[in-house]
């Protein structure tokens, strides 16, 4: 079932020349966790704010459960939408306790129902024992869970999260990502979150929209986007990659890598190969090629080798096992055809 539909959503801020959001289209299904990914200024936060009702679209429309909530000349007020939000700074009410914060949006229920819902939320988010505390008496992770409980309490049709991990310390981020995903899953909510960190996307999103300058460049599951990036931007966004031009006349890839790539799309004239895709092979192995090692950088989890192929010199970044020892200054590498992705510029 489609919970939220965005059609050709456009937004331009006063005094700006370019659109902050340009023709954003999406159908968000019930129970999905969707990520809007991009650098700052890509329009992801603007989309979130239009869904929440804090910004008005210049064109296109938004439908929540088939009801139109925003278009060029019609907007439903945020307080009438039934959409939950977890803000980047959490926006907890500093003069209210954890309980009072969670109860804030439960005014449509009667007292007993509200209490029941409160207890459910406290249990769901693991806040037991902290109910009487004030926000400044909680850690960052606990504050986030209060914000989550408060947003989920009125059972919103959709939950929006603005950069949910940016305020948490790096050490615990991983743990908190999965904690957040579990809470959203258990609550059975549909969620959209905004982030600039691909690790957030890979860890918890079911689907991702990669945005650049207000335009959706690619959408799909995190795995699809990681393995089959649409262009060089997406490819490099998801970590280091080797981007090599495929000149249709030259036989570079065949020559060098001993690979034949089927070119079906004329726009796609680059290939992306992740550093991890290269295997170090025995010398003179069938299908392997030789490269000179220019530099070695130790990263703990892997060893990064900056190499240069001997035939038609091209620089490559290769990630090897951390205990690999480069003996002669030269190595033999091979790569599988399925790890070579044709992309657009």
């Amino acid at each position: 079932m489609i919970v939220l539909e965005a059609f050709n959503l456009k937004k331009k801020y006063a005094g700006e020349i370019e659109f902050a959001v340009n023709d954003f289209n999406a159908n968000i299904l019930k129970g999905e966790i969707v990520a809007l990914l991009g650098e700052s200024g890509c329009g992801k936060t603007t989309i979130l704010r239009m869904i929440a009702g804090f910004e008005k679209p210049d064109d296109g429309f938004l439908k929540l459960k088939s009801q139109k909530i925003a278009s060029k000349d019609f907007v439903t007020a945020p307080e009438k939408r039934g959409i939950g939000i977890v803000f980047q700074d959490y926006a907890l009410f500093p003069h209210k306790t954890v309980n009072e914060n969670i109860l804030f949006g439960l005014f449509r229920l009667n007292k007993d129902e509200a209490q029941k819902r409160l207890i459910e939320m406290v249990a769901l988010t693991g806040l037991k024992g902290l109910e009487k505390r004030y926000p400044h008496e909680l850690s960052g992770g606990q504050q986030q869970r209060v914000a989550l409980a408060r947003a989920l309490a009125p059972d919103p049709a959709i939950l929006l999260l603005d950069e949910p991990f940016s305020n948490l310390d790096a050490m615990r981020k991983n743990e908190l990502r999965f904690e957040l995903r579990d809470i959203i899953r258990k609550a059975g909510t549909t969620a959209i979150f905004v982030t600039h960190d691909t690790r957030d996307v890979l860890a918890i999103a079911d689907r991702v929209f990669v945005l650049k300058k207000g335009v959706t460049i690619q959408q799909g599951t995190p795995e699809e986007v990681y393995r089959k990036p649409a262009d060089s931007y997406v490819a490099s966004f998801f970590g280091k990659t080797n981007i090599i031009a495929v000149d249709s006349n030259s036989m570079f890839l065949e020559d060098c890598f001993d690979l034949t790539i089927q070119k079906t799309d004329h726009e796609k004239n680059l290939v992306s190969i992740r550093p991890r895709a290269f295997r170090i092979a025995e010398a003179h192995t069938e299908g392997a090629f030789e490269a000179k090692v220019l530099e070695q950088l130790y990263f703990g989890e892997f060893l990064e080798l900056i190499c240069e192929t001997l035939k038609q010199p091209t620089k490559l970044v290769v990630h090897a096992d951390p205990d690999f020892v480069v003996s002669s200054g030269k190595i033999w590498l091979c790569v599988q055809a399925e790890d070579v992705t044709l992309i657009k510029h």
Binding site: G53, P78, E79, D89, A91, H95, G105, Y134, R150, P154
Partner: protein, 515 residues
């Protein structure tokens, strides 16, 4: 020191006058003070808080003008606004004459009502002092995080509910801090209550001193006054401590909402009330009077009056600023706890009513003089000299200069000092070439603020001034008390104009623009 001396008054022998004062007058003083406090709090809160909210969050006709015009009443000392309004409502006032002749309105001896009463005093105080609440509340609302209100909306709450249940409670410490300043000003006031015939502790202190000649009774009254002040001080400190957790963000601020049509004009009208009552009408009345008496004012020893006032203010401000800079600079270099205590104590004087400071100093100075005579037979006169007066201003207004320098100093990284010292600059070289230029703006604004406070000061100056010595404030007050209001006007106009300078400074300091 003056405070301790005042409290020593508790154990002094009581004269017969004191018995009379305590049974007959003190209950009256307490009652009047409380009525004033409650009345003024109510009105100034309604206007101060709501206007701060409107100006901070809404766009309506005249918003930009009102955002600074609403501070302007602070430039008119309450006693000056008081006699100006008494003039406006008087039978012979231009306003009443005009209304009577054009529309045939006749409301008796006074236009509408007799303002020389306690309710009149409440109105005058409210519209003279609400800017303290307005300023602090506005500074708070301007920095309030937008997400807090968006969170409320996303949880389905209406804007009015959000105002009363989020905005106001979160702003409460800021509002309370402003309110306590308002109340301190009421306790400090002598001019308005005297002119309006409302007996409070300050008028009591004056009459005990001058009319009864009973020093110990005056001191005992000062003790009562101090109890009120201490209560306020503790209250204010408590509220400030709570302001730390108050939903102010460094992030996104609220954007202003345009209020179209009738609603917008309604807010403009509401904003105009305190501006007109607190500033425009009384100021125009003063200017009107001044047209008649300007030349006379200029001819009657004006130069001396002017020189006295400004020289006194400038010297006092200079000494305050030098002491402030030295204390703060030393605190920057050495984190001395003892000096910190000294700095806190030296800035407490601002909370003390001028009459109390004056009384305490008088006692100390008399002791010192007697001590010199007894020990060495030296006759040194400090009481009733410029020295005594300036010392009193230093006690009373140190905080104004100190806080200005302190806030400037907080913005300058300590590593700048450390860099300069590590490059071999001496401490004085660093102060002169580094800290002073960096602090210039704060020092200048602190200097001006102190100067203007001294210019407006009334009760302290009245008690400690040298014989036959006049300042603009005293001239304005004395002429007004003698029912020579139009002759008082030119001096009052000058005080108001001088008072507008800090308004401009304050407006620039808090003028963080929102889009």
């Amino acid at each position: 020191m003056p405070v301790l001396v005042i409290f020593s008054g508790l154990w002094q022998d009581a004269g017969i006058f004191w018995m009379h004062i305590r049974t007959e007058l003190v209950p009256e003083y307490i009652k009047n003070t409380l009525i004033l406090a409650i009345g003024v709090s109510t009105i100034s809160l309604i206007f101060g808080v709501n206007l701060a909210w409107f100006i901070s969050n809404f766009d309506f006709p005249g918003r930009n003008f009102f955002s600074w015009a609403l501070i302007m009443p602070i430039a008119i000392p309450a006693y000056i606004s008081g006699f100006a309004w008494a003039g406006i409502l008087d039978y012979t006032s231009p306003a009443y004459t005009f209304l009577r002749n054009t529309f045939g309105w006749n409301t008796g001896q006074f236009l509408f009502f007799d303002i020389l009463s306690i309710s009149g005093a409440i109105v005058i105080f409210s519209f003279a002092l609400y800017p303290y609440i307005y300023l602090i509340a506005k500074a708070y609302f301007d920095r309030q995080s937008a997400t807090m209100f968006e969170a409320s909306a996303s949880l389905g709450r209406s804007k009015i509910y959000t105002y009363f249940n989020l905005a106001l409670p979160m702003a409460r410490p800021a509002i309370a801090a402003g309110l306590s300043l308002v109340l301190m000003e009421i306790l400090n006031d002598y001019g308005l209550v005297k002119y309006f015939g409302v007996d409070t502790f300050t008028t009591g202190i004056f009459s005990a001193w001058f009319a009864f000649g009973d020093k110990s009774a005056a001191m005992k009254l000062a003790v009562y006054l101090m109890v009120f002040v201490l209560f306020l001080l503790i209250f204010e400190k408590m509220q400030r401590r709570r302001m730390r957790y108050s939903g102010v963000s460094e992030g996104k601020l609220m954007s202003r909402i345009k209020v179209p049509g009738f609603g917008g004009w309604l807010i403009s009208f509401f904003s105009a009330i305190p501006f007109l009552i607190g500033f425009a009408f009384p100021f125009l009345q003063l200017v009107y009077w001044s047209f008649d008496t300007w030349e006379q004012f200029l001819s009657q020893g004006f130069i001396r009056l002017f020189a006295n006032s400004f020289l006194l203010a400038a010297i006092s401000a200079l000494i305050v600023m030098i002491s402030s800079v030295l204390i703060i600079y030393t605190l920057r270099l050495y984190n001395s706890r003892r000096l910190k205590v000294v700095s806190v104590i030296s800035t407490l004087g601002y909370a003390l009513p001028g009459a109390v400071v004056a009384l305490g100093l008088l006692v100390i100075l008399t002791w010192t003089e007697n001590f010199f005579i007894r020990q060495w037979g030296l006759k040194i006169v400090i009481t009733g000299t410029w020295f005594g007066l300036i010392y009193a201003y230093l006690v009373r207004f140190m905080a104004v200069g100190y806080q200005s320098v302190e806030s400037g100093s907080e913005k300058i990284s300590k590593s700048i000092d450390q860099a300069a010292l590590s490059l071999g600059a001496g401490k004085f070289r660093n102060l002169w070439f580094n800290s002073l230029p960096l602090l210039r703006a704060s020092i200048v604004s602190g200097f001006l603020l102190v100067m203007i406070d001294v210019l407006k000061e009334l009760p302290l100056t009245l008690l400690l001034r040298p014989f036959n010595f006049d300042t603009l404030a005293i001239r304005a007050f004395e002429y007004a008390s003698d029912e020579r209001v139009s002759e008082a006007a030119p001096a009052a106009v000058m005080i108001v104009l001088a008072g507008l300078v800090p308004v401009l400074i304050i407006n620039r300091l808090i003028g963080r623009r929102k889009v």
